[in-house]
């Protein structure tokens, strides 16, 4: 079956499709409530490619392949999706073995540096007098430490986010760089794989583990990305466009997952 690509899609739908291709069948996958696009991407993977994924949804585990339509949920404490539960997870159980909650994770950030280290603590030089106090690390530090791999995801791409150095590091990416950047610190797992933004997808150059442009979204130029990135990004000679979603993916997103159209706004 050749892929039939869609031509009419939003950047959010494009990103959801990209994320869908990161999920592997049989894995445990945490589905956040707040980040609509990664949520849609993971559910898309589940419905189309990964029927055996164990979805961690509002502190329950479930499987949704028989659900014709996903009703939306906006908070991690919404009890309504728990109607699908196959198991309840006491929240403190996650600390007993974070891998039992998820094999992959999506991490947001206030700041990200060139090695994929990220910050949710706050912005400012003096911790006692922050210019901007962040929300806190939530579970990102522990999850990103224990999972097989994670994905940095931000909803805007500018020089306030992509900085030469984070004011504080709440989640380790590749530390001070190098293929052994994590191993040196005794940190397991494969670390951040991609950094996903509204402009592009970035990966990490294998030797230096510095962030590298992998693909730009339709309509975005390489210069635009470089200009909006506060550190020196590795830019290969040719940078492709991000692979578009298929017609089937877009149909599934719109008819079964994003029925309320949040990804089309």
């Amino acid at each position: 079956m050749t892929k039939e690509y869609a031509t009419d899609f939003t950047t959010k739908e494009l990103i959801a499709s990209f994320i869908a291709h990161q999920v592997r069948d049989g894995e445990r996958v945490a589905v956040g409530a707040g980040l609509h696009v990664p949520r849609a991407g993971i559910l898309l993977a589940h419905l189309l490619y990964c029927p055996n994924v164990r979805l961690y949804v509002v502190m329950t585990f479930t499987n949704l392949i028989k659900e014709p339509k996903m009703e939306p949920f906006y908070t991690v404490t919404d009890f309504r999706p728990a109607k699908w539960a196959e198991a309840y997870v006491f929240h403190d159980d996650f600390q007993e073995n974070p891998r039992l909650v998820s094999d992959m994770f999506v991490v947001g950030a206030l700041q990200i540096d060139k090695y994929g280290n990220s910050n949710l603590i706050g912005v400012g030089k003096d911790y006692k007098r922050l210019d901007f106090r962040g929300p806190g690390a939530v579970g990102t530090l522990s999850m990103a430490h224990y999972v097989d791999r994670y994905y940095l995801y931000v909803q805007s791409h500018d020089r306030r986010i992509f900085v030469e150095q984070c004011d504080f590091i709440s989640t380790i990416g590749w530390g001070e760089g190098g293929a052994d950047g994590r191993r040196k610190l005794g940190i397991p797992g494969n670390g951040p794989i991609y950094c996903i933004t509204p402009l592009c997808i970035m990966d990490f150059e294998p030797t230096s583990k510095r962030m590298r442009l992998k693909s730009v979204h339709p309509g975005v130029t390489v210069d635009q990305v470089v200009e909006n990135t506060g550190f020196e990004l590795i830019v290969p000679e040719s940078v492709p466009e991000t692979e578009p979603p298929t017609i089937h993916e877009i149909r599934t997103l719109r008819e079964r997952i994003d029925v309320e159209g949040m990804l089309r706004r």
Binding site: A33, F79, F90, R129, G186
Partner: protein
């Protein structure tokens, strides 16, 4: 003559009277759900000061309200916000930026390490995630040490022992057997760590009902039970009601007026109308109105 068991039921005023200035208390639930708000509001009414509040692993606007009302000296939690209502809790943000409160910076994993150490009577429990980050720098209570087995660097997360845990749950019998609907989030971990646990419930159920499903008993042995229907309002209560979106938005607007524009009047008006003026939880519910309350039953 068969001896009788003693009822542990008290009211929210008796519960809040146990909370004194300077105490370390835990407050259960998670972000927008399952907070013992009848007790929290009574604590504010009484003007308790200098609390160290061990919030849930991820804290919500109940804690923001306590901060705004001036009850909090130090906060232990890994997140402060209201998700899509407001990504960062407004009064927490400004209080932290100005150094008006201390934040015990942690992530959810470390949070449970601290509670577990207290429950186990240990000075600390170790954690690996955090090595290489800013946490040991911004939270000097976290000590990097060399593990005695493999010589790896690890983080020692010290015990934090709440003197009293305030928990919200669906049901309890009069003897302290508590049953949550849903997972109960990290409430068990707070109970295990705390010196005493007071559980505010939607409904008292007979002991015979508890025995029908012993697996559902999440806390076997609360020290006191407070009955407060709609007691998590404006936050959600699994199996009973969803959060009151309109009320939460009203709170966020009032808090943001202060946090973003320096105008404290809307927040003071909120405090006055919903907390200081009503004398009891029942009075608070009258202010909210039964019409609003029953509209939240829709699932």
């Amino acid at each position: 003559m068969i001896p009788e068991r003693k009822s542990l039921i008290i009211d929210e005023r008796q519960a809040a009277a146990m909370i004194r200035d300077g105490m370390t208390i835990a407050i259960g639930g998670f972000i927008n759900s399952s907070h013992p708000m009848a007790i929290v509001r009574q604590i504010i009414r009484r003007g308790v000061k200098d609390l160290t509040v061990v919030g849930p692993a991820s804290g919500g606007l109940d804690l923001d309200l306590l901060i705004g009302a001036g009850c909090v000296k130090k906060l232990v939690t890994a997140y402060m916000g209201g998700e899509h209502y407001c990504p960062i809790a407004p009064l927490f943000r400004v209080a932290a930026e100005r150094g008006e409160i201390d934040v015990w910076e942690c992530d959810e994993g470390m949070f449970y390490c601290a509670l577990r150490a207290a429950a186990q009577g240990l000075p600390f429990t170790p954690w690996k995630a955090g090595i290489g980050t800013s946490f040991p720098q911004v939270n000097p209570d976290l000590k990097v040490f060399t593990d005695p087995i493999n010589g790896e660097p690890l983080l020692a997360v010290p015990a934090i022992k709440p003197e009293i845990a305030l928990i919200y749950a669906a049901h309890a019998d009069p003897y302290g057997n508590v049953q949550h609907i849903g997972t109960g989030f990290g409430d068990r971990a707070m109970w295990r760590a705390a010196g005493k646990t007071i559980v505010q419930v939607e409904k008292i159920i007979p002991n015979e009902e508890v025995r029908k499903n012993p697996l559902a008993t999440s806390i076997y042995g609360a020290d006191a039970i407070v009955r407060a229907p709609y007691g998590s309002h404006p936050f959600a209560a699994p199996g009973y009601y969803i959060e009151d979106e309109e009320h939460i938005r009203e709170y966020v607007a009032a808090a943001n007026a202060y946090a973003k524009k320096g105008d404290r009047r809307p927040f003071e008006a909120y405090l006055h109308k919903y907390i200081m003026e009503p004398e009891t939880h029942a009075d608070y519910l009258e202010v909210i109105g039964i019409k609003r309350l029953i509209s939240l039953h829709e699932y």
